[in-house]
């Protein structure tokens, strides 16, 4: 069994270059392209970024903005995405016998060389409608620098959490406004219709009053009195109508003001939301890169291999049975109902001496809670938390994922249970419906 990847999720924005973890190379200035030999060093190269993400990055950018990504269909080839005339143009970068170009004959030795050439020459020589140069690279380093927060991981995490919670708070507020606004509009629509209907009714009564006046002349004398009474009744009904209409219109005016206020609040909140969303995403990317650096710097054969700790069909009671009496930090990962997976870990401070934490998954990756659902694979998560305490999730869990259950066990008291080397027998409970 190898890595478990959330392959259904769209891939992440490209991760920070591995180079960052190496201390002996100095970072290359994003603009000095001439010295770039390999494509992976280029700021405009975004690996296997998805189309949605490109659309997002290049939205409302000026003509000449560009980036390069891997070709979706052919391994080893690339695609240039170029902004022109308000939309994105895709240009295939073909590779023929180790040389690159937009069409035959391919004359460039590398993609950076080709890009460099067209930074100062228009693409019109290749395609007359693409009369633009590659002016503005979409840089994947740029963003990183914006989210500067030094290398203090704790500080960064604090910022990330703040940004996340602020974002959630604001977006809930926005949702509330939006909900109120839609309701208000709908209600106003009704009231307007009702007000129209009242107008019609008033007209109808006015007509009747005129009719009444016309017929008054033709009435017999003995009828005059009751006729007058009837006239008064008509007038009375009419004034009732007018009064109700007036009240309705007053309400309508109040609501119009309310709806405008709500609309204004929403319009004001939106830019803020965008900003917060961007900040959070940047910080998440930054955090992800620290995860990657950590994982790379701490190679662990046992932690990185799921067969030592993944017991998919294990149930919660099974896990408790297996982990009771084990050294703190002995753990396994199993399937669970509320989330794709759950971690079960021996820890003497918690109830029953075994703790359980759900492992969730977002489109970005696995993790215990937002905004940290970022681990590309379960294996990365395990390696990372082998070196980081779970305390931040649960103050009682003062342990790391120290000992995979099927790895070599530290001797701890009366540990004589043998560890199953094959998956445990599937219990009869339906995991799908159990809570962790």
């Amino acid at each position: 069994m190898t890595e478990l990847r959330p392959s259904a999720a769209p891939s992440l924005p490209p991760r920070i270059n591995r180079r960052l973890s190496q201390t002996d190379t100095c970072p290359i200035s994003p603009t000095s392209e001439t010295c770039i030999r390999t494509i992976s060093d280029a700021e405009w190269y975004w690996k296997n970024i998805t189309r949605e993400e490109i659309d997002d990055l290049m939205k409302d950018t000026p003509d000449g903005t560009f980036l390069v990504r891997d070709s979706a269909s052919k391994a080893g080839e690339y695609t240039l995405t170029l902004r022109k005339g308000g939309c994105n143009k895709l240009v295939k970068i073909c590779c023929h016998q180790g040389r690159y170009g937009f069409s035959e004959p391919c004359i460039f030795n590398s993609v950076p060389e080709l890009i460099h050439f067209y930074r100062s020459a228009s693409l019109a020589q290749y395609n007359p409608t693409l009369n633009v140069k590659l002016l503005y690279p979409v840089s994947r380093f740029q963003n990183m620098e914006d989210a500067e927060s030094g290398n203090d991981v704790d500080k960064m995490r604090k910022r990330l959490e703040d940004a996340h919670h602020e974002y959630l708070k604001r977006s809930r507020q926005y949702d509330q406004y939006h909900h109120d606004y839609s309701e208000c509009l709908e209600d106003m629509q009704l009231k307007k219709q009702t007000s129209d209907a009242f107008n019609e009714a008033v007209i109808m009564f006015e007509e009747q009053l005129r009719l009444h006046e016309k017929f008054e002349r033709e009435a017999h004398r003995h009828e005059i009195h009751s006729l007058k009474e009837n006239y008064q009744l008509l007038k009375f009904q009419m004034s009732n109508l007018k009064q109700t209409r007036q009240e309705l219109q007053n309400h309508l005016r109040v609501q119009t003001v309310l709806s405008r206020n709500l609309d204004r609040e929403m319009n004001a909140l939106k830019p803020e939301l965008h900003q917060l969303c961007k900040t959070r995403d940047l910080l998440q990317m930054k955090f992800l890169s620290t995860i990657e650096v950590y994982v790379q710097q701490n190679p662990s054969v046992v932690h990185a291999d799921s067969q030592y700790w993944l017991l998919p069909d294990c149930t919660r009671p099974d896990a408790e049975r297996l982990l009771t009496g084990k050294a703190d930090g002995t753990f396994l990962i199993r399937r669970s109902a509320g989330a794709p997976f759950a971690l079960s870990i021996a820890c003497r401070k918690v109830d029953k001496r075994v703790g359980h934490i759900l492992i969730h998954r977002s489109e970005r990756g696995f993790g215990f809670t937002e905004p940290y659902l970022l681990f590309p694979t379960l294996n990365d998560l395990v390696v990372y938390y082998a070196g980081h305490s779970l305390e931040e999730l649960n103050p009682l869990m003062t342990t790391t994922l120290a000992h995979p259950i099927r790895g070599s066990q530290p001797l701890d008291g009366n540990n004589s249970n043998s560890i199953p080397t094959s998956p445990p027998v599937v219990a009869t409970t339906v995991e799908g419906y159990m809570t962790c």
Partner: protein
């Protein structure tokens, strides 16, 4: 808050007694106490009796010379000609009835009022509209109605019957292999019933016929068999058959479905359905005369607006667009009501689009303070007027800029779009004021170029005033001849001509790469190289790969007159494309009216009624992409609806369901009006359905107010309400909106109930009034829901239905259960209740001995075993395994979320099926709520237990292995139709379902269908997903698996 459509303003349901202000023609006001369900004629009688006591009675004439008139909720006047209607059903705004002498054409007024009732829009309001486009449409579309009425009358009653009871047949004659193998030497056993003496006397017999026999042969066979008992000579028998064969037709027992047309018996859906389930079809002999007698009159009343003078377009000097030599520009004047605070500046953004594609760069006005939205600035585009394509639209928005730190944040505040040419081909000139629309939630773009065109009817919204050059009083887009001529001219002067399909050596490889491009899914992006190649190869495309047309059209440079004219030349000779391709051409990407027209023509030729029925939901939605009211798609849908009542039934409801949407209510309203004018006497039946739903809506509105009352009280209210005469009348003997073949008889009020779920839906049970209903299906159970958007459920079920037919065509019978579900209005609709089915949760709980959380996974298996004793058991397990595989794959591909044992059901023959599709395309909580759910896929221990027939370690069983293989085959079968599935979802975009807002949402399908992968890689991906979901239960050993699947 006053309810909108209650029986009176401020009341969902009218009080049982009301004081009605009656305004008499002698000026007198009489306040008359009336009971709620009093018919108008009774009120009139009482009124006259009362009026005697008042002055001026002598001035009143005979009551029959008067009619009542009043004001409705929508502020419209209505004259009540039908005096059998009840007070509570009149939709009165206030309890006021005015008595008047009727004027004008009574017949027409009655018809208009009925149409108004059915459509939900006042006809006289349409009559008063000034917009020439509306009046021209209403006038011209009557031609379609007239033609259809004539066609229905072609062979008199015979063709009329075919309209009312169209044959429900599969498009293809051949039986799928899965059914074929169930037949005995290609023969079918049918059970034929005959009724005599009003259904009191029922007889049945069985006949055996060839699967290809026509219905008339079956009738003859049945008569022959019956006559055997009469001991006749062969000759007498033949004569008897001859005499009676014409008298009888075949009818499906218990429903209003007839087998009237000459199709092979096995092509009829009902028969096929029975065969697939291993049941004997139940038919009955029905007198042809009675069928004909049941038909309402087939007439058309020509409305008086047809006699009004035609408004001629303004005359004066006119120019062709191609005679101009100017850049396109627009003068941004000012805006009203821009509603912002805390922003630094606002500005206007303008872009010219052709479908999704910008024709040139967007332009921005200067930024001004938000409290003085005046610009007076010309924005000049980099596009010459001659290059403006016919389908161009100008998209405008007002945006705000907020400067924060070093960044600027831009936000769209309001948007609006305009067609550059009107429906009469003339270019917009002069001043235009456009009332803008509010930004849909979650939209980040700065223009909404796919939004509707035209002004927002809500005049409180911001309004933008713009002006176009008035270079001549009239500027026309050149006509077809001029375009063709220019196209030929351009071709003749170009140095490098396109590649022609003559060079055979070069051809093969070219055609291959064209085929490769053609196979790409509709959402894949083409590179510039591919576009160049398509354009060069356009003649090859036309000859050899016509289905690559959508891709070629993407390669056309629509901002170049030369390209457009050459493409036009080619389109004139383009051969018909496959229906799936034609559907794709109706997407908003294809903005050219001529392309859309061609696509509809091809569809009209190639789509059978069955296929049309399958795609109707989408086709109705794409009406929203049509730039003009009068378009080929509207005409096509109307024509087919007026020639096949089954199609018409759903056409009506799909349009009617969206009449509350202000941006399209006019467009859909006038189309509905045309439908109602064209169906003759069938309008009455439609009205009955509308009225019944109206009653139920009001009733549930009251129940919603009472939602926290004790259930007992609510039930009491429900029962009492439903036993009132107006409810009894309205809710019995009408056609089920869910299925035009089902007649809902009387309501079984004592068994109806209020359900527990959040929106308190009603569980309603009707008797089947058919004489043979008792033997086949005695009751119809339907859930009526008020408060939930059912459009997503409806779409999901329809797609599952299409998947089912794809599988059947590929030889896989996965026993899907796409039960009927219909949205009939905003957040209102009906859902069919599947008989003899229980939720998995209900079955699990049956065991009872365990606590709720510790579910016994053997219960489901036990239950199925109990319901299917003896030989039926094997069949039930097979049914379960197949349906489980089908739903596993379907829910995986569609990303259906929130699966739990409460929304998965199993029926007694073992079919498992999912219900409640509140989340799809992987949405769990979208965007502002953060997450997308993991790939949903439900295969729990209980299911495995059933599949493996209760063995220990089910995942190791052979049965489970076969199940996995079945899933893989089903997945690959759907993948082969990935483009169709994606197209269907693209076509649904204009619906505005919250979870289907943009192309990005459909990206989920591209992912689950693995469109960019090879078949082998796709299967691997699928297996990995399942592996992940089942953490090891699913095998990942692909080699054996793939080989067993690939060569099927």
């Amino acid at each position: 808050m006053p309810p909108s459509s209650g029986e009176l303003w401020g009341h969902h349901v009218m009080p049982s007694s009301v004081l009605v202000d009656c305004l008499l023609p002698n000026g007198i006001l009489i306040q008359l106490a009336c009971v709620r369900d009093c018919p108008l004629n009774v009120i009139k009688g009482n009124l006259w009796r009362e009026a005697k006591k008042y002055p001026l009675f002598s001035h009143l004439g005979d009551p029959s010379t008067y009619i009542f008139v009043s004001i409705l909720h929508d502020a419209e006047h209505e004259e009540f000609y039908d005096e059998s209607r009840r007070l509570c059903d009149l939709r009165l705004f206030l309890p006021v009835l005015k008595v008047i002498e009727p004027q004008g054409n009574k017949m027409e007024k009655i018809l208009n009022s009925e149409i108004g009732l059915a459509v939900g829009i006042a006809i006289h309001e349409l009559d008063e509209m000034k917009d020439p486009e509306v009046q021209d449409f209403r006038r011209n579309i009557m031609q379609v109605c007239k033609e259809c009425v004539e066609l229905r009358d072609l062979e008199g009653l015979e063709t009329q019957a075919l309209f009312a009871y169209p044959a429900e047949v599969e498009s293809k004659n051949g039986l799928p292999a899965s059914i074929e193998k169930k037949l005995d030497r290609g023969e079918i056993i049918l059970c034929i019933w005959q009724l005599a003496n009003d259904g009191a006397d029922q007889q049945k017999l069985t006949v055996r016929v060839s699967k290809d026999a026509f219905p008339e042969t079956v009738v003859a066979e049945a008569i022959g068999k019956k006559s055997k008992s009469l001991r006749m000579s062969r000759e007498q028998q033949m004569q008897l058959i001859d005499e009676h064969q014409k008298i009888y037709v075949l009818k499906v027992c218990g429903t209003q479905e007839f087998l009237l047309e000459r199709y092979a018996i096995c092509q009829y859906k009902y028969i096929r359905h029975c065969l697939a389930k291993g049941e004997i079809p139940q038919l009955c002999l029905y007198s042809r005369r009675e069928v004909y007698a049941s038909l309402p009159e087939n007439t058309i009343h020509i409305p008086s607006y047809m006699r009004r003078p035609i408004l001629n377009p303004p005359t004066g000097s006119s120019l062709s667009l191609w005679q101009l030599n100017n850049l396109f520009r627009v003068h941004i004047l000012w805006a009203t009501y821009v509603n912002v605070r805390d922003v630094d500046m606002i500005y206007v953004r303008a872009g010219l689009y052709h479908g999704q594609e910008p024709l040139c760069s967007t332009k921005e006005s200067q930024q001004v303070p938000f409290n003085s939205p005046k610009w007076h600035q010309w924005l000049t585009f980099d596009l010459n007027l001659v290059d403006l394509p016919r389908g161009a639209r100008l998209c405008l928005s007002i945006c705000s800029v907020t400067k924060r730190k070093k960044r600027e944040e831009h936000c769209m505040l309001a948007w609006g779009n305009i067609n550059m040419f009107d429906y009469r081909n003339s270019l917009l000139t002069g001043k235009v004021s456009l009332t803008l629309w509010t930004v849909p939630k979650g939209m980040d773009a700065l223009l909404n170029h796919l939004g509707t065109t035209g002004s927002n009817p809500n005049k409180d919204a911001p309004c933008l005033e713009v002006e176009f050059d008035r270079l001549s009083p009239m500027i026309f887009y050149p006509d077809g001849n001029a375009v063709e001529e220019y196209g030929r001219f351009v071709t003749s002067i170009s140095i490098v001509g396109p590649v022609l399909p003559t060079d055979s050596a070069k051809m093969t490889s070219n055609v291959e790469s064209l085929l490769e491009i053609q196979a790409k899914d509709p959402l894949s992006e083409l590179s510039e190289q591919e576009k160049d190649m398509l354009w060069e190869m356009r003649h090859v495309c036309c000859k050899k790969v016509p289905d690559a047309l959508p891709k070629l059209l993407e390669a056309v440079k629509w901002n170049s007159r030369d390209n457009v004219a050459q493409m036009f030349l080619l389109l004139n000779i383009w051969p018909p494309v496959a229906p799936e391709t034609a559907l794709e051409l109706l997407d908003c990407k294809y903005a050219d009216p001529f392309v859309r027209k061609l696509a509809v023509r091809w569809l009209d030729k190639s789509l059978s009624n069955d296929a049309l029925g399958q795609f109707l939901l989408q086709l109705v939605q794409t009406l929203k992409y049509e730039p003009y009211l009068d378009n080929e798609l509207s005409r096509f849908l109307l024509k087919r609806s007026l020639l096949n009542k089954k199609i018409g039934h759903f056409f009506f409801w799909h349009l009617k369901a969206e009449m509350n949407n202000p941006s399209i209510s006019l467009r859909f309203g006038i189309l509905l009006e045309a439908y109602c004018r064209g169906i003759g006497g069938h309008l009455k039946g439609l009205l009955r359905q509308v009225e019944a739903l109206d009653k139920l809506t009001k009733l549930t509105d009251v129940l919603k107010v009472k939602r926290d009352d004790p259930l007992k009280d609510r039930m009491k209210y429900l029962c009492e309400s439903m036993s009132q005469p107006d409810y009894v009348d309205a809710l019995q003997n009408f056609t089920s909106p869910l299925n035009g073949n089902h007649t809902l008889g009387s309501l079984v009020a004592e068994n109806c109930r209020i359900m527990d779920s959040a929106k308190r839906p009603l569980w309603l049970i009707w008797k089947n009034p058919d004489p043979l209903g008792n033997t086949i299906q005695p009751l119809y159970s339907i859930i009526f829901k008020n408060g939930d958007d059912l459009r997503q459920d409806m779409l999901t079920l329809q797609v599952i239905r299409i998947m089912d037919s794809i599988w059947l065509n590929e030889g896989l019978d996965l026993r899907m259960m796409p039960y009927a579900c219909l949205s009939t209005g905003k957040d209102v609709g009906m859902i069919e209740v599947v008989r003899q089915a229980k939720t998995v949760y209900g079955i699990q709980r049956q065991g009872g001995k365990l606590a709720a959380i510790q579910v016994d996974s053997t219960q489901l298996h036990k239950w199925i075993k109990e319901k299917n004793k003896g030989p039926k058991y094997e069949q039930a397990i097979e049914t379960f395994t197949h349906s489980c595989a089908g739903y596993c794959v379907a829910t995986f591909i569609l990303g259906i979320g929130d699966r739990n044992p409460d929304n998965i059901m199993v029926n007694e023959d073992g079919s498992i099926f999912h219900i409640d599709f509140g989340h799809f395309l992987g949405h769990f909580k979208k965007k502002f709520g953060i997450n997308r759910e993991r790939v949903p896929f439900v295969l729990t221990e209980d299911f495995l237990y059933v599949i493996s027939k209760g063995v220990e370690n089910p995942t190791k069983s052979k049965a489970f292995q076969l199940f996995q293989e079945l899933c893989g085959r089903a997945y690959l079968a759907l993948r082969r139709h990935a483009n169709l599935l994606i197209t269907l979802f693209i076509m649904m975009l204009p619906t505005g379902i919250p979870e289907l807002q943009s192309v990005d949402d459909i990206g989920y399908l591209r992912k689950t269908l693995a469109v960019e992968k090879t078949e082998e890689k796709a299967l691997e991906y699928f297996q990995n997903q399942l592996f992940e979901a089942y953490g090891g239960a699913w095998t990942t050993k692909l080699d054996w698996f793939f080989h067993s699947v690939k060569h099927m």
